[in-house]
């Protein structure tokens, strides 16, 4: 197997990531969203492992394993449980309708590619061409957070954004130092659990997980 074949596979996985991001943007059900999130994590883990294998950066194996454990197994499992317990697998209300959101998403992807062009020319990695995709994933996840109303979708959007950042780090400079990555992973894990507790609290207070009820909290 030569390097260009690896690169092609990595590019394929990157394209998958982008595709999943768009799919998340258009997904209406929470369970579907969680499944997509798990697939995104899987694609990320696979591409990271592939980068590690092809470039010999051994610490990236650890990153890939961490991603697999946390984002493909632990968190989706946690979210499925949460959805079942809170009984919130209804249709996710979007602030904007889905086609408009998709159009904005396309504009963001073009913007991200345009933005990544000078940076990827500077980066010395074999995977630099995927940097644009990584940035597009970050922006799309952000867009998803903006256009959704339910608290749980915000959290998934936040995690998807983290996926995008992770991918950006891998493609631009073969990942961050392992210590940093482990720290970030721990942060994400703790953050998700704290947010999970918050969901119960919010639902107890407002009888709903819809964020529009929280608008009452602002200062008059």
């Amino acid at each position: 197997m030569n390097l260009s074949f690896h690169l092609q596979v990595i590019n394929l996985l990157a394209a998958l990531l982008l595709l999943i991001s768009f799919a998340m943007l258009s997904q209406r059900r929470v369970v579907g969203l969680v499944t997509l999130f798990a697939w995104q994590g899987a694609a990320l883990a696979a591409s990271t492992a592939l980068v590690a294998w092809s470039t010999g950066q051994h610490h990236l194996y650890w990153s890939a394993a961490l991603t697999l454990a946390l984002k493909v197994v632990a968190m989706p499992w946690f979210f499925y449980r949460l959805v079942r317990k809170l009984d919130i697998n209804r249709e996710v209300e979007a602030v904007l309708n889905i086609p408009t959101t998709m159009l904005i998403g396309i504009a963001l992807v073009i913007f991200a590619f345009n933005l990544a062009l000078p940076i990827s020319q500077m980066a010395g990695t074999v995977t630099r061409s995927t940097l644009g995709i990584a940035m597009a994933c970050v922006l799309l996840a952000f867009l998803m957070m903006i256009t959704r109303r339910k608290a749980i979708t915000q959290v998934i959007g936040f995690l998807a954004m983290e996926n995008g950042l992770f991918f950006a780090a891998t493609s631009a400079s073969y990942g961050m130092p392992l210590v940093v990555e482990m720290g970030v992973a721990l942060d994400v894990l703790v953050g998700v659990f704290v947010l999970g507790i918050f969901f119960f609290q919010i639902r107890e207070t407002f009888d709903s997980l819809d964020l529009k009820h929280m608008e009452r909290l602002k200062e008059r």
């Binding site: 602030v95 913007f111 933005l115 000078p118 952000f142 867009l143 957070m145 903006i146 256009t147 109303r149 915000q154 964020l211 529009k212 929280m214 608008e215 009452r216 909290l217 602002k218 200062e219």
Partner: protein
């Protein structure tokens, strides 16, 4: 200890005051110990400080580096003639006020009293450090110490909402001023990062930057001194503070601002431009007239004195402006004359305003009333307070042979000597300024007639005033010290001017030509003008004695006691006397444009009719209210950003992110 320099003594006394402040905190359960021991000890320190100041006037400047503060940034201290005169002022006035306070504060509870002793001594130490500081860092630390400790002194009665509000206003304006001072020092160091005053003296600034430094100093020190329109805190804070504190703040703290202005303008800056002087004269006269007009319409006696302090600061500032004009014009001798006059007035004001504030304190203490409409006739029930206050009243009204006359006379002499100036317009305008100073002085006399007449003369306006008790012995001693200062400073001006000579030599390298001797004061030349206060005093005493004994010989000898000012109308009662509002009414009519008058007129069928009139300052409405409204409006606009919806907050971050990505490419 014998070879210790005045500077060693000075910072020793500062440490001593700091120790007393700590001791005050330790005496939270022993009120008698605080008033019986700490305040007298503090007063002794003040007396020593006065002596140190006088010694500092006579001896050459001393330097000292105190190894405290931040690393590599020790406190530089210096005691020269300018610091000396203000230290002497601080010590002498603080001695009288502190002795007075030892009696006045006896009625306070132990807890608040301990805190008061803490802040009071910190305040004294802070003011002394301001005068001793020789680098910007030490100066600002001392300045803040002074501002904060006086804030806590003002809010001694912090349970009263009005007092908390007054304290906050004071703190706010003090800090706006402090920021200006910080910027001023920033300009003065000329971009070299050295903040010692020694360095600033040698830094050569361009006229533009020198003017910037001067304007910042004028703003910063003006905020502390009560320059219009930065005066708004003064009439609020002085009535709120306990009387000895008002006396110190008005008598001494305002003078630290004068000190700072002189230090920056003549010592640290090496160019002086004539237009600074014109600006200072204009602002000073505006302040003086504004202050005296508002003093005339007040009916609260401490508020009246606060406005009168504003007036005196205005006069001092006008003198300062004239000094700058003369000095920039190369007329060193005349500059020395005005500088002497303004320093003299600063010292005088410390004595008579301190005396008047503690006098009102005694009245307040025994009657519990600040409003003049409920006072009157107190000279019969509080003779000590009344007669000692009379000395202060005559002094502030500018009557010879007391001290107020000397400084105002010197200042007017200086104003009348302006035709020598090389600048034509100034030559024409300054006589008008002289007229304004004279007007302010005359109105000040009017204000004092009102103050003394309504509070101490006539008939008591309330029944309980008949049981008013006179001040105790410590209070009398304190007032007598201040009154003696007023008399002696008035009787021996030539001596005082001799003491002030090192200051003019330091700042202007020239001294005032005094053509007279210890008995007679003759600035510039004896042919032009001279004044012999002792002779004047003796003549006044002699005429009084002759008239007194002459009348006694001729008169049948039976003394009859009747209601004063009844003009033969036997039904006269206390309610028919001229009131504080009535006395000020003509002034209020004439200057009503500047005031916001609130009046409560009684119903014609009211059996117990009451009249209440209150004249407030329009500066608040015109200058401060718009700023407050603007800030409120801006924050309301900023409040619109707060939607409460998380989507909007995310959009804000998203837009910021996109913006930064686009623009930092």
């Amino acid at each position: 200890m014998l070879d210790a320099t005045p500077l060693d003594w000075a910072w020793g006394i500062v440490l001593y005051w700091l120790l007393l402040a700590g001791a005050g905190l330790a005496c939270r359960r022993h009120a008698r110990l605080v008033t019986g021991l700490l305040f007298p000890l503090g007063a002794l320190g003040a007396l020593a400080m006065a002596a140190v100041g006088l010694a500092g006037l006579a001896l050459p400047a001393g330097h000292f580096v105190l190894p405290i503060g931040l690393p590599d940034l020790p406190f530089h201290l210096r005691l020269d003639a300018l610091s000396g005169v203000f230290l002497a002022l601080l010590g002498a006035a603080a001695f009288g006020v502190t002795v007075y306070g030892a009696g006045y504060f006896r009625s306070m509870e132990a807890g608040p009293l301990a805190l008061l002793a803490l802040w009071y001594h910190l305040f004294l130490a802070g003011m002394a450090l301001v005068l001793l500081a020789d680098d910007a860092y030490a100066f600002m630390v001392a300045w803040e110490l002074m501002a904060l400790s006086s804030y806590f002194l003002v809010t001694t009665d912090h349970k009263v909402p009005v007092i908390r509000k007054a304290g906050f206003l004071y703190l706010l304006i003090a800090h706006v001023g402090a920021v200006a001072l910080l910027l001023c020092f920033g300009v003065l160091q000329g971009g070299h990062g050295a903040y010692t005053f020694d360095y600033m003296r040698s830094a050569a600034l361009t006229p533009f930057w020198a003017s910037a430094a001067f304007l910042l100093a004028l703003f910063g020190f003006g905020a502390k001194a009560g320059l219009v329109p930065l005066h708004v805190w003064l009439p609020e804070a002085h009535p709120a503070a306990p009387s000895p504190v008002s006396a110190l703040m008005s008598g001494v703290m305002l003078k630290t601002a004068v000190y700072g202005l002189l230090r920056v303008t003549f010592d640290l800056l090496n160019v002086q431009l004539a237009w600074w002087g014109s600006l200072a004269i204009a602002l000073g006269l505006l302040t003086a007239l504004y202050g005296v007009v508002f003093a005339a319409v007040q009916s609260d006696m401490k508020r009246l004195l606060a406005w009168s302090s504003i007036e005196n600061v205005g006069i001092i500032l006008a003198g300062f402006g004239l000094t700058v004009i003369f000095y920039a014009d190369g007329k060193g001798g005349l500059a020395a004359l005005t500088l002497t006059a303004l320093l003299y007035h600063a010292v005088n004001h410390a004595f008579f305003k301190g005396l008047l504030f503690v006098g009102t304190g005694s009245v307040l203490h025994s009657t519990g009333v600040r409003h003049m409409g409920a006072l009157g006739g107190l000279i019969r029930f509080m003779p000590w307070t009344a007669w000692l206050t009379l000395v202060g009243v005559l002094a502030i009204a500018g009557l010879p042979p007391l001290n107020g006359f000397v400084s105002e006379w010197l200042l007017l002499q200086a104003f009348l000597l302006t035709p020598g100036l090389s600048h034509q317009y100034l030559n024409m305008i300054i006589p008008v300024a002289a007229a304004a100073v004279a007007l302010a002085a005359a109105l000040a006399a009017y204000v004092m007639v009102k103050f003394y007449g309504v509070v101490f003369l006539g008939q008591p306006r309330a029944e309980n005033l008949r049981h008013a008790h006179d001040a105790g012995w410590p209070e009398r001693l304190g007032m007598a010290w201040l009154a003696a200062g007023c008399v002696l400073l008035g009787l021996f001006p030539s001596v005082v001017i001799g003491w002030l000579a090192p200051v003019t030599r330091l700042l202007l390298s020239q001294t005032l030509v005094n053509d007279g001797n210890w008995l007679m004061l003759a600035p510039v030349s004896a042919e032009r003008a001279s004044y012999a206060p002792v002779v004047f005093f003796l003549v006044v005493v002699a005429i009084t004695l002759v008239v007194f004994f002459g009348v006694k010989r001729v008169y049948h000898g039976r003394t009859r006691r009747a209601a004063p000012w009844d003009c033969g109308f036997p039904e006269q009662d206390a309610r028919m006397q001229d009131s504080a509002e009535g006395f000020g009414q003509p002034i209020r009519q004439i200057f009503s444009v500047f005031m916001r008058v609130e009046r409560e007129t009684p119903d014609p069928f009211d059996a117990q009719p009451r009249y209440r009139g209150d004249s407030r300052d329009k500066v608040w409405l015109l200058a401060y209210q718009p700023i407050a409204d603007l800030v409120a409006w801006l924050s309301a606009q900023a409040g619109r950003l707060q939607h409460g919806s998380i989507q909007w907050y995310l959009i804000y971050s998203f837009a910021t992110l996109i913006f930064l990505l686009v623009f930092t490419r």
